[in-house]
């Protein structure tokens, strides 16, 4: 494996930022987030994981699908597809696994071109975790803090700098085209792996997929949901939650007047934005009927989606949870997905 120094890596990032859209962990008002950076000095190097997952780079919290120009009995629709090549630096392995799961969903036929374009135009540069954070449990979910398998390039921080691994040809091209300075390092991959000893390996039991549906009628869901605020933050921070809403919004008057047709037409944008099945109105249909009117029903759906429905619908081969632990950190009433897993494991054993 090759070794690069912090300085060499920084100048590589600078040349990336000069030539394409570079997204990296950055402190925004003290909050670590994956955000565009212009210079390596903006990059946050010491972080457990950004507060929001890397899904934002492919599936933004709000994005425009269409611009709608509306005149008197005249409509013009303009697609809004991103073409820009981008590199995401500092991707954590839990997040890259999440991207793989989103890939399965968004690229299943018919593919979603908004996601697919961004994904095809993106190179993922991973950064192995030095240690697991207090709420991390990726090792319980089949992941690992130094898992390179869903990255294009993987970096392993060691004392002397970073070990560099080109995982895909796309990653190799990025290393070559922007000339990351590096040299052979005597540490082989096997030795390198042993440099990371993660203390929390397989901390929690992962129940069988069938165990979840078997507990569908469990009174437990209502008990857990009693304190749920239906605030939806668990879905927003989740690397695999992908539910969205679509609606039209008027563009500001100034922009409307500047419309190319100049005929006094008004402009709108059709946007999609993140949503979550824990929200009260999520499943309500026209006329008011709501098959998931109770919080317990909604929270149950969230967990069954993660561990049963989503894996089955999109043949994931694993649960749709990467063990990043963000929902545990973010929940204002301490609903803890690992406690739910433990409960299901316990009741399905008896």
């Amino acid at each position: 494996m090759k070794l690069t120094t912090h300085e060499e890596l920084s100048s590589w990032l600078d040349s990336l930022a000069e030539n394409l859209n570079l997204i990296a962990p950055r402190a925004v008002d003290g909050v670590p987030l994956y955000r565009p950076v212009q210079h390596s000095q903006e990059v946050l190097w010491d972080f457990t994981r950004p507060v929001l997952s890397v899904k934002e780079a492919f599936f933004p919290a709000t994005e425009r699908l269409l611009t709608i120009e509306k005149g008197n009995r005249q409509i013009r629709l303009i697609e809004s597809l991103s073409e820009e090549p981008q590199v995401v630096f500092g991707v954590r392995p839990c997040d890259a696994r999440g991207v793989k799961m989103l890939d399965a969903l968004f690229t299943a036929a018919p593919g979603d071109p908004y996601y697919a374009r961004r994904r095809a135009n993106t190179t993922l540069v991973g950064l192995a975790c030095r240690e697991m954070g207090p709420t991390c449990f990726c090792t319980s979910m089949g992941g690992s803090p130094d898992d390179a398998s869903n990255m294009d390039v993987m970096l392993y921080p060691i004392e002397e700098g970073y070990l560099v691994q080109a995982v895909t040809s796309k990653g190799q091209a990025l290393l070559d085209n922007y000339a990351l300075q590096s040299r052979e390092h005597s540490t082989g991959q096997a030795e390198q792996k042993t440099a990371f000893v993660y203390e929390q390996a397989e901390k929690y039991p992962l129940p069988e997929r069938s165990a979840w549906a078997a507990q569908f009628e469990d009174a437990y869901w209502d008990q857990v949901a009693e304190r749920c605020l239906s605030c939806r933050i668990c879905a927003y921070v989740c690397p695999t939650c992908r539910c969205f809403d679509v609606r039209d919004e008027a563009l500001p008057e100034a922009m409307s007047n500047a419309s190319p047709s100049g005929n006094g037409s008004s402009q709108f944008e059709r946007i999609r934005c993140w949503d979550s099945c824990t929200g009260e109105a999520y499943r309500r249909i026209a006329g008011g009927h709501n098959p998931r009117a109770e919080k317990g029903q909604r929270l149950r759906n969230r967990f069954l989606c993660k561990f049963d429905y989503y894996p089955r619908q999109y043949a994931l081969g694993s649960a749709a949870c990467t063990g990043c632990g963000r929902c545990i950190d973010a929940c204002p009433v301490n609903i803890d997905i690992t406690e739910v897993m433990q409960h299901i494991a316990e009741v399905s054993q008896c």
């Binding site: 018919p110 979603d112 969205f244 709108f268 999609r272 249909i285 026209a286 006329g287």
Partner: protein
Amino acid sequence: MLAISERKNGANPMVPYLGKLVKVKDLAAEIKLFSVEMLDGGREAFSQYYPGQFAFLSAFGVGEAPFGIASTPERGPILDFAVNRLGSVTSELHLLGEGDIVGVRGPLGNCFPMDEFKGKDLIVLGGGIGGAPLRPVIHSVLDNREDYGDLTILWAARHPSLLVFSDEYEQWRSAPGTRLHLTVDQPDDLWDHNVGLITELLEKVSPSPKNAISITCGPPVMIYYASKLLEKLGFKAEQNYVTLEARMHCGIGKCGRCNLGEKLVCVDGPVFSMAEVGGLRESFL
């Protein structure tokens, strides 16, 4: 007339085709029937579609919502949609008139297996605006009358003013081997048909399950009790077809909104047999 859809990616399933409203008429109280002539690429996209499929209608500037297609391509290129004025999109649609442009995204979802229904007696149960996605089934049967057995239509609404497609009843009734039974919960002075819930009517008509298929669409509670009663009459779950309604935002299995347990109404449905959804842990009720 300018109606352009600029598609960088011809296959973008989230971009609607444009269509012109060629006719808007009152179908029932607060329910209008919109007849749409597709423009440009939409003609090709909707040159073929099947009973039970749906499409999103856009009221540009407000949003879009899914509706069952109430027409068949065999009767012509104009698409029909029955729209009940309930939310923001449907309220905006109700303000539109002939000549106005709407977006139409589809056709989406699965369809009734009309080929499998051939040679069988069909019992069609429509409740309120739930009758709209069943009209293509009725039209298909009437247009290929000799392919199917008896057609029994049970058509219900809360009030006579809410019965849909009443201008077609004579045509339905006069077709060979076809019977139409009407019922309302709250009759008015002029009402001279059945009074009561569709389940009461179903009990009275009591169709034989032998070589028969039932097709139901209506409010979830109606579908639930009608299915129970059909089972009591001897219909097996595989003989009972339903088309389900769900809130949805993509129609292509991405937005997650319409899940019913592990099923997605948009791509696994909206047409299901009760064998598929009757046993799901999560009820549509």
